[in-house]
């Protein structure tokens, strides 16, 4: 008889449970956090707090969307945090100079987001420099610029319209309409598949995703209808998320990103313009970071040059927790969204619990490690080299 050299064989029941646990590690972490917080605090599971929480996640969330693209390419962008600060300062200064809010926003997106992205992209694609070091340099430069143009001080916003951009809510009526449209769209899609392409409905992960989407929308319904409607930044963020998922999955550009991140050389030899892909991704990321800075300035009613400090690390963390491999090629925005929520719930929960800052840091570090560990173990992913 064969003897088993391997000691890995276990009873099948155990394996199934283990597999389940591993496969859904992030969801489990999320669930445990939610359960725990609901039981221990009075305020976590209120529509208001959840609405806050979702809104709070948008600032880093917008950046993390761009960062997902960068990390899919196997790179990293450390300059986004400083860009947030620089953009916030720039947009407020422009308005202070008397420019209309929309013009200020557009100028900021172009000159802060676009130019910095171009700079990063230039060195990275033209000279094949490491994104880490190029964006580290830019992180320093952009912070210096923010300090310089703001003369080291904070700038208030007096423009009411600007403040409304991130400060107000979509009315409950419109919120209901919008969410219903989303729901309808999903239902139509399902029906379409049911009629035209039966085989899709047999795909487990498709079903899982659809259920998840429906469930998510219902949850949002509850939250936003019970509390003021959809916050503007959340609406903006949702649009960005949807567009980015669409781009990554359904456009040539998205494909190019996966190809360039998965095997640079093979992609190049397949005629894909690697340099252009890098350039575009870094520009988009910077523009999104600038946009995030603008929203932040609007939320804060003003700006200071130190805004966005260390935000790059939060964004990277969200992407990593969301299962995008730091060596590129694998992952996507949907995971990042999950990552963002894990971090936001964590921050929100610890703050509701009134934990001291020092403990918050420790717990946050532990959870980051565990979440990424769960992701790695579950997908049997490994970092190479």
């Amino acid at each position: 008889m064969n003897k088993i050299v391997s000691s890995k064989r276990k009873k099948s029941k155990k394996i199934i449970l283990e597999k389940f646990l591993k496969k859904n590690m992030n969801w489990i972490i999320l669930l445990i956090m939610v359960l725990f917080l609901s039981l221990v605090t009075d305020s976590f599971l209120t529509a208001r707090n959840l609405s806050n929480l979702i809104r709070q996640s948008t600032i880093v969330g917008i950046i993390a969307v761009g960062m997902t693209g960068v990390i899919l390419l196997g790179g990293v962008d450390l300059s986004v945090g400083s860009i947030v600060g620089l953009a916030a300062v720039t947009v407020t200064l422009l308005m202070e100079k008397g420019l209309n809010e929309w013009i200020s926003i557009i100028l900021t997106l172009i000159f802060v987001g676009g130019l910095i992205g171009y700079w990063n992209g230039y060195w990275i694609s033209r000279y094949k420099m490491e994104p880490f070091i190029v964006t580290l340099g830019m992180m320093t430069i952009a912070r210096g610029l923010a300090l310089t143009i703001s003369k080291n001080s904070s700038i208030p916003v007096k423009n009411e319209n600007f403040t409304k951009i991130a400060g107000s809510y979509i009315s409950i009526k419109w919120s209901i309409i919008l969410l219903s449209i989303c729901l309808l769209y999903i239902l139509i899609e399902v029906t379409y598949y049911a009629i035209k392409k039966r085989e899709v409905l047999k795909n487990k992960s498709y079903i899982k995703n659809t259920l998840l989407k429906i469930f998510g929308i219902l949850l949002l319904f509850l939250i936003f209808i019970m509390y003021k409607g959809i916050p503007n930044p959340v609406a903006i963020f949702s649009v960005i998320i949807i567009i980015s998922i669409f781009i990554l999955n359904n456009t040539k550009f998205g494909r190019d990103i996966y190809a360039a991140g998965g095997n640079r050389e093979a992609a190049r030899l397949s005629g894909i313009d690697i340099d252009k892909v890098h350039m575009k991704v870094f520009i988009i990321t910077s523009v999104l970071a600038a946009f995030s800075g603008i929203i932040l300035a609007s939320r804060l009613n003003g700006a200071s040059p130190s805004l966005g400090n260390m935000m790059e690390l939060d964004a990277i963390t969200a992407v990593a927790i969301g299962g995008t491999s730091l060596s590129g090629g694998i992952g996507g925005t949907f995971g990042t969204l999950l990552g963002i929520f894990i971090i936001s719930i964590l921050n929100n929960g610890m703050s509701l619990l009134g934990l001291p800052e020092s403990y918050q840091l420790i717990i946050k570090g532990l959870i980051i490690t565990m979440a990424v560990w769960g992701d790695i173990v579950s997908k049997n992913k490994k970092y190479h080299k």
Binding site: L31, L35, P156, R299, P356
Partner: protein
């Protein structure tokens, strides 16, 4: 698949709870909830802020919801939102950024929560009351002590001064520095030879700066004025390697009166510290918060509490309770620091 449904079920049951939970359920408790939101806990003094505030709040039977924001203004706004979700009745706020905190006041006001500005001025805002020391005055006091030192040790007010500033962009650092600069400008004999900010208030960076300056001016610097105690510690460490860490040789001023610095003052290494009285600051803030809640329906602050004077913050004249600041020098440590219970005698001397 089965597992997935279990998961969904669990989540659905949560929804259930969510739906049937009335928000005002939170407000059932009768205790007044006061939110105390600091900018960070990463400086020595803030432990005291928290402790004194909690003690004072207890006296008024208020429940304190405390939080701090890791020096991050975005985070601070989020923390405020969390506090509001927890149902605070009144807010005591030390802004990370004095320039952009007005929005937080507005958010609180929208929820019917009144705001006490703590420690620093919340500019351009409709804040209800300020309880603060005057940062500008801190700088002024440091500089005046320096002028006195010049007279005493050098016979004339003539020499080189270095201003060691904190986080670039920090509004308190800015105010303190302006106070210093004004005094220097008034004394033509004084020459400002350096004015350097330090990222994260890092004391090791202040040490490096000091070493460079001493080399540059061949030890010809007479005074270092620092925006806080940590920076002053860096300066002293650098001076120590030239055996110049002595009041007789070089004037060093800090602010916050951290334990180590008070010790330096006692040992004659550092000339002065500024003690920003934290106990009265915290107590007055708790007092103001309490009054603001109790007299919710009154709009005129004059009828609610006693304050020192009104200070214009760019938007309105804010009723302000000013807490004292003191110069700490070798001769008054007992009186200023120990008697107030700020540090213990045995901690300072031994």
């Amino acid at each position: 698949m089965k597992n997935f449904f279990v998961l969904i079920l669990i989540i659905l049951s949560f929804l259930f709870i969510l739906k049937y939970r009335k928000e005002n359920f939170l407000k059932k408790s009768h205790k007044v909830k006061v939110g105390f939101l600091l900018k960070t806990m990463q400086e020595e003094r803030y432990i005291k802020d928290k402790k004194y505030f909690e003690e004072a709040a207890k006296k008024y039977k208020m429940e304190v919801i405390f939080d701090s924001a890791n020096n991050n203004e975005r985070l601070q706004m989020e923390k405020l939102e969390n506090m509001i979700a927890k149902g605070i009745d009144v807010l005591v706020l030390q802004p990370v950024n004095t320039g952009t905190a007005s929005n937080m006041v507005e958010i609180a006001h929208k929820e019917g929560i009144r705001v006490v500005g703590y420690d620093s001025m919340i500019e351009n805002s409709d804040v209800d009351v300020h309880v603060m020391q005057d940062s500008w005055k801190v700088g002024e006091l440091q500089a005046k002590a320096m002028v006195k030192w010049f007279k005493e040790y050098r016979g004339e007010v003539k020499g080189n001064v270095a201003l060691i500033m904190g986080q670039p962009g920090d509004s308190n650092a800015k105010a303190m520095s302006e106070g210093v600069l004004k005094v220097i400008a008034q004394n033509p004999g004084l020459k400002l030879v350096a004015k350097q900010s330090h990222e994260n208030w890092a004391s090791d960076k202040a040490m490096t700066t000091t070493e460079n300056l001493m080399a540059k001016f061949n030890n010809n610097i007479d005074a270092f004025i620092c925006n806080n105690s940590g920076l002053a510690r860096g300066v002293i460490a650098a001076l120590a390697s030239y055996n110049l860490d002595s009041v007789g040789k070089i004037f060093v001023a800090g602010a916050d009166a951290d334990l180590v610095n008070v010790r330096y003052v006692a040992e004659g290494k550092q000339a002065i510290e500024i003690y920003k009285t934290i106990k009265p600051l915290a107590e007055k803030a708790a007092y103001a918060a309490y009054r603001l809640v109790v007299y919710k329906d009154k709009t005129n602050i004059d009828e609610i509490l006693l304050y020192d004077r009104k200070v214009y913050n760019g938007y309105k004249s804010v009723p302000t309770i000013i807490t004292p600041i003191y110069e700490v020098n070798k001769n008054n440590i007992d009186e200023v620091i120990i008697k107030n219970g700020f540090h213990k005698r045995e901690d300072i001397y031994n």
